[in-house]
C-alpha cells in the first residue's frame, strides 16, 4: 500500500476536503477489502468502510506521522470492524458466508477455494496474513495495526502460511482423487 503524497496529507489535516477525497480515492478499495475480510458481510463492510474514513477525517489532526499512514488507517478499519462485530453479537446472532460478488473473475473456482481457505484459519492468523501478503505491510507496520509485538506477527504469519499451504494442498489432493 502506498502512502499519500505528504502535501496532500498536510492539506487534508488542515481541513481541505478535496485533499481528503484524494485520500479516500487512494485507500477506498483496500479499506473495503480489509473490512470485508474481517466482517464477512458486504453491507457491514460498506458501513465499516464509511465509518473508518469518517473517523480518519475526525482524528486526522492527531496523526503525527510516526507510523506509515497506511498502517494508521488500517488500524482504524480494524477498530471499526471490531465495533461492528460486537454490535452484531449483541443483536440476533447471524452468520452470512457471503463473498464479494465477482466482477471480472478469471478463475472463480480457484478464488473461492482461496477465500474458503483464508476463512478457515483463525482471525489471529488471518489478519497478519492479509496485512502482509495482500496489502504489503511490513512486519513492523502489521504489528502497529494489530497492537502486538513484531515477533508475534512473525510467528502468526508463518502459522498462517503453513495452514493455508496445507489447506490448498488438501484441496489439490482431493481434486486429484
Amino acid at each position: 500500500m502506498q502512502d499519500p503524497d505528504p502535501r496532500v496529507l498536510a492539506r487534508a489535516r488542515a481541513g481541505d476536503l478535496t485533499a481528503f477525497e484524494d485520500i479516500v480515492r487512494l485507500y477506498q478499495a483496500d479499506v473495503f477489502r480489509f473490512a470485508w475480510h474481517l466482517v464477512r458481510d458486504r453491507s457491514t463492510a460498506e458501513d465499516v468502510t464509511q465509518e473508518a474514513f469518517i473517523r480518519a477525517f475526525r482524528f486526522l489532526r492527531s496523526y503525527r506521522g510516526d507510523s506509515p499512514f497506511s498502517s494508521w488507517i488500517m488500524r482504524i478499519v480494524r477498530n471499526c470492524a471490531m465495533d461492528a462485530l460486537r454490535r452484531q453479537k449483541s443483536q440476533v446472532a447471524r452468520h452470512r458466508d457471503e463473498r464479494p460478488r465477482a466482477g471480472s473473475v478469471a478463475d472463480p473456482v480457484a478464488r473461492a477455494e482461496l477465500d474458503a481457505a483464508l476463512h478457515a484459519i483463525t482471525p489471529d492468523h488471518r489478519e497478519p496474513f492479509l496485512l502482509i501478503e495482500v496489502f504489503g505491510l511490513s512486519y513492523a507496520e502489521a504489528a502497529d495495526v494489530l497492537g502486538i509485538r513484531v515477533g508475534t506477527v512473525k510467528s502468526r504469519m508463518h502459522r498462517a502460511r503453513q495452514a493455508l499451504c496445507r489447506a490448498l494442498a488438501d484441496d489439490d489432493a482431493q481434486e486429484a482423487r
Binding site: 500500500m1 502506498q2 502512502d3 503524497d5 505528504p6 492539506r11 481541513g15 481541505d16 476536503l17 478535496t18 485533499a19 481528503f20 477525497e21 484524494d22 479516500v24 480515492r25 477506498q28 478499495a29 483496500d30 473495503f32 477489502r33 470485508w36 460498506e46 468502510t49 464509511q50 474514513f53 469518517i54 477525517f57 475526525r58 464479494p100 460478488r101 465477482a102 466482477g103 471480472s104 473473475v105 478469471a106 478463475d107 480457484a110 478464488r111 482461496l114 502482509i132 501478503e133 495482500v134 504489503g136 511490513s138 512486519y139 512473525k154 510467528s155 504469519m157 508463518h158 502460511r161 503453513q162 493455508l164 499451504c165 490448498l168 494442498a169
Partner: protein, 637 residues
C-alpha cells in the same frame, strides 16, 4: 536445523526479512535435502501469486456517502476546498484518463465498480494518455513481483522481486532480487542492478548462461559494465516500467481489450505480442538466467488509467503453429496457451522523489552552463526554437575519442526527452550519430534529413548534415513532432555528400539513390510493392553492381517504431535460378503462377521469374503478410 525453524526462516525471507548469513546458509543447506521444506517454499510462493494476482473483486463506490458525512461532520469554518459533489471528485480521474479512456466505466458506475467490461478506449486514446503522462511524471518508485514458469524441470517456478526508482530528468535505478529457493547452490540467483544517471549507466548481474548449457553448469561470475554514451541509447531501457511510452505510444499492433480494476485502481487491458512489448521486460536483457520467449507470445498488460503506470503484465504462450517449430528448435516442451509463463505485478508504487544517492554513479559527464559550453567547444551549439514544451535540462561536451569536440543538449519533461548532438568535424561516410546509411531521407523545412524509427534502446533519430556542421536528434516524441523540432533549427540540411553515398570495394560498387534515380538506371523494372503492412514506408534504395551483375535493394521501415516487426527488405537481381537453400527447413508457397521458397529461420520468401531473382525478408512479420507483399510485387512485374 529442523523443518519448523527452516520453514519459519523461509517465511521471513519471503516477507523481505534479512536473515543472518549463517542462518540463511543453514536454511538453504537444509532445504536441498528436504522435500517437505521445498514443497512448503513452492506452495507459499504459489499462495503469494494467488492472493496477489487474483482478479479484482467488485468494490463499491462509497465516495459520495463518505464525503457527504465528512462534510456534515465538519464545522463550516474549518473546511475549505468547497462542498464536494460527485462531478468534482470524478474530475481528477476523468482528467487523468484523458479523452474519456474509461469514460464508459465512469458512466456505468465509476471506475471503482470494477468489472467494467465496456471498452470505450482505443489504442489511439491509450497512446495519447501515455504521452501526456510521460511528460508530467517527475518521480516514481515501484515494487514488482515477478513469477517465471518453465525455466527448467528442476526449477519449474521462480519468484523475483524488482524495485524501480525514477527521478526526472534521466535518472533510473532497477534492482532485481531473486527470491527463488533453488535445488542446490550450483544455481546462481538472478540478482541484477541497473543504474542510469544522465549519460552514464551501470549494469551488474550474473553472466548470462547460453541456453544450450544447463544453468547449473554456468560459472557464478558477475559482469559489471559501466559506460557512458553521449546519446540517449539506454535512456529508454527501463523507462517503460514507469510509463510504457515506447510500448503504447504507437497504436500499431495493440488491441485494447477492456477496462476494469486492478489492485484497486481503474485500469485498461491492452494485448500485444511479446516482441511488441519488449521494453516492458528490460530485466531480461540485464544478465542472469531467464527462460526463452517466443516473439509471437501473447502479452496482456493492465495499465493504470489514472497515471498510466503498468500495473500487471503477463506473457502467455502463443497458439501460433510456428511456435511449435520454435519449441522443437530450442528443445522446449510444448506449453499451454492458458498458463502464464511470466507474470509481473506492481505490488506497491508511489510518486515520491527518491533521494539522489539511489542513482550515485561515478563517471557521469559533468553538466556545464550553455555559455561555458560554447567557450569550451569553440562554437555555439545550435538550439531548436521549438522544443515542444520540453525544457533544457542538461548541456555537456563529452569527449569523442577522436580529438574533435561535440555538444549534447538534453531537453526533457518527465520521461519525454530530446537530445541534440552537434559536431563540426565529422568525416565518417555515413550520417552523424547512430543513424544508419540506409535511413529514410525526409524533408525538413527547405532541406533534407535522415530519419530512423525507434528501435531497441534507441529513440526516433534524425541526422542532419550541412557544409558547416552535423546535427543528431534523438527523442521519444512522435515522428511529426521530431520533424517540427528539426525544422525550427537555424540551418538547412543537405543531401549526404556523393562520396558518402557511393562505396567501392573490389569488384563491387554500391550507391544510395532515390527511387526515381534507381529506376532510371537499372536494367530491370521494379517499384514499391502495392501491398504493404500498415505504417510501412520506403526508407531507402540501394543499387549494387557486383562483377557486372546489377541488383537493387529496397528498405521499407515503419514510420514510428521497429518494435514488434523490423524492416522489410526487398532484393531484386538478374538470375535464372534460386541460390542453394540457406536452411534445411523450407516450405513452398504459391504466388500466383510461380512458386516461392519460404525459409522461416531467415523470415525470407524468395522466387525467380522472368530472369529476375526476388526476395522479401521480414523478421517478425508472419508468412501470410509477407506472401501478400510478394504477390503484389509479382503481379506488377
Amino acid at each position: 536445523m529442523n523443518c519448523e525453524r527452516a520453514q519459519a526462516a523461509i517465511s521471513e525471507r519471503m516477507d523481505g526479512e534479512r536473515l543472518p548469513g549463517r542462518v540463511a546458509a543453514a536454511v538453504d543447506a537444509h532445504a536441498v535435502g528436504c522435500t517437505s521444506c521445498r514443497a512448503f517454499a513452492e506452495r507459499a510462493a504459489e499462495l503469494r501469486s494467488a492472493v496477489r494476482i487474483r482478479p479484482a473483486e467488485r468494490i463499491p463506490d462509497l465516495m459520495e456517502p463518505i464525503m457527504a458525512q465528512v462534510a456534515r461532520s465538519t464545522p463550516p469554518g474549518r473546511r475549505f476546498g468547497g462542498r464536494p459533489d460527485r462531478e468534482r471528485w470524478l474530475r481528477p480521474i476523468a482528467a487523468a484518463l484523458l479523452v474519456g479512456v474509461v469514460a464508459g466505466s465512469v458512466i456505468v458506475g465509476g471506475p471503482w465498480q470494477s468489472g467494467g467490461t465496456r471498452t470505450t478506449a482505443t489504442a489511439v486514446d491509450v497512446g495519447r494518455g501515455v504521452r501526456a503522462a510521460a511528460r508530467h511524471v517527475e518521480a516514481y518508485h515501484a515494487v514488482f513481483a515477478i513469477t517465471e514458469r518453465g525455466l527448467s524441470i528442476d526449477v519449474p517456478t521462480r519468484s523475483l522481486e524488482a524495485q524501480l526508482w525514477f527521478s526526472a530528468p534521466g535518472r533510473y535505478r532497477l534492482d532485481v532480487r531473486d527470491t527463488t529457493s533453488y535445488p542446490s547452490e550450483a544455481w546462481t540467483p538472478t540478482d541484477l542492478t541497473y543504474v542510469q544517471d544522465g549519460d552514464a549507466t551501470l549494469r551488474s548481474g550474473p553472466s548470462g548462461c547460453p541456453s544450450s548449457l544447463p544453468p547449473t553448469r554456468c560459472p557464478p561470475t558477475r559482469t559489471v559494465t559501466q559506460e557512458r554514451s553521449p546519446y540517449a541509447g539506454a535512456a529508454t531501457s527501463v523507462a517503460d516500467l514507469v510509463v510504457p511510452l515506447d510500448v503504447l505510444a504507437n497504436p500499431r499492433g495493440l488491441a485494447v481489450e477492456r477496462t476494469g480494476t486492478v489492485l484497486g485502481r481503474p485500469a485498461v487491458l491492452v494485448r500485444m505480442s511479446f516482441a511488441r512489448a519488449a521494453p516492458l521486460f528490460p530485466f531480461l536483457q540485464l544478465g542472469g538466467t531467464w527462460r526463452p520467449f517466443y516473439e509471437g507470445d501473447r502479452v496482456e498488460l493492465w495499465v493504470d488509467a489514472a497515471d498510466w503506470s503498468p500495473l500487471r503484465w503477463t506473457v502467455y504462450p502463443s497458439q501460433d503453429a510456428t511456435r511449435a517449430a520454435w519449441e522443437m528448435r530450442f528443445g522446449r516442451p510444448s506449453e499451454s496457451p492458458a498458463i502464464p509463463i511470466l507474470d509481473v505485478i506492481a505490488t506497491q508504487s508511489d510518486h515520491l522523489r527518491p533521494t539522489a544517492d539511489r542513482f550515485a554513479l561515478a563517471g557521469a559527464a559533468p553538466q556545464v552552463p550553455l555559455d561555458d559550453l560554447a567557450a569550451r567547444l569553440g562554437f555555439h551549439p545550435v538550439t531548436p526554437a521549438a522544443t515542444n514544451e520540453l525544457v533544457l535540462t542538461g548541456a555537456a561536451a563529452p569527449p569523442t575519442g577522436r580529438g574533435s569536440l561535440q555538444s549534447v543538449l538534453t531537453y526533457s519533461s518527465g520521461l519525454t526527452y530530446l537530445r541534440v548532438g552537434e559536431r563540426h568535424r565529422w568525416t565518417s561516410p555515413q550520417p552523424f550519430g547512430p543513424v544508419s546509411a540506409d535511413a529514410e531521407q525526409v524533408q525538413v523545412g527547405e532541406g533534407v534529413a535522415y530519419y530512423e524509427p525507434a528501435a531497441g534502446d534507441l529513440g526516433r533519430r534524425l541526422s542532419i548534415h550541412t557544409s558547416d556542421t552535423n546535427i543528431y536528434l534523438e527523442t521519444n516524441l512522435p515522428r511529426d513532432q521530431l520533424l517540427a523540432v528539426a525544422a525550427s533549427l537555424p540551418l538547412t540540411g543537405t543531401e549526404l555528400p556523393v562520396a558518402w553515398r557511393v562505396q567501392h570495394g573490389g569488384d563491387a560498387r554500391t550507391e544510395l539513390l532515390t527511387l526515381a534515380q534507381a529506376k532510371a538506371g537499372t536494367s530491370f523494372g521494379f517499384d514499391v510493392p502495392g501491398t504493404l503492412p500498415g505504417g510501412y514506408v520506403l526508407a531507402s534504395v540501394q543499387r549494387a553492381v557486383v562483377r557486372g551483375v546489377q541488383s537493387v535493394t529496397l528498405d521499407l521501415r515503419q514510420r514510428d517504431s521497429d518494435l514488434g516487426a523490423g524492416p522489410i527488405r526487398i532484393h531484386l537481381e538478374a538470375a535464372d535460378a534460386l541460390p542453394p537453400a540457406a536452411s534445411a527447413h523450407q516450405i513452398t508457397v504459391p504466388l500466383g503462377a510461380v512458386e516461392a521458397r519460404w525459409i522461416p529461420a531467415q523470415a525470407r520468401l524468395e522466387w525467380v521469374a522472368d530472369g529476375i531473382y526476388r526476395s522479401v525478408d521480414g523478421p517478425g512479420i508472419d508468412l501470410g503478410t509477407l506472401a501478400a507483399v510478394a504477390s503484389s510485387i509479382e503481379a506488377s512485374a
